[in-house]
Subunit: 95 residues, 2 copies
Amino acid sequence: MIKVVATLISKANKVDETKAALSSLVEPTRAEEGCISYELFQQNDDPTRFVTVEEFVDDAAVDAHLGTAHIAAALAAAPEILAADPQILRYSLVK
Amino acid sequence: MIKVVATLISKANKVDETKAALSSLVEPTRAEEGCISYELFQQNDDPTRFVTVEEFVDDAAVDAHLGTAHIAAALAAAPEILAADPQILRYSLVK
């Protein structure tokens, strides 16, 4: 299992658009064959900061996810609404 | 429910000690009354980088967690093994 934690920081005047764009990715991602779970969160004391906490069956499933049409479209639109490049990191369970 | 994602970056020569110290927190934290889940991960392409992905029933449970003896001891020892201050952020579920 691969854990992915992605951090996405919205421009201050694009929080609603970022929230909507990220929300729109949840259902299509959960429908991917290699996706175990995918949840979107917003930081409590800084609404510009979002994380997705994700589980995929393996690295190939993460690669496939990043190559889907819905993610490609989101990444293409990201510079309009995000204050920084998305940080998408892969982790393995220690305990 | 409060989601907590904590990022902990080890000194390059303290990865084993950091992994052991963080691993030792897992069982006592899971035993806390307000803890729903607590998992420790290590980044696949940078072993100095750890995250904990946590769920607590509410903010008071997170506050209680941060006040426990096991966390206080870990935070006191952190400067010896970590390259940066722990980043402990609270999130709410969007979707």
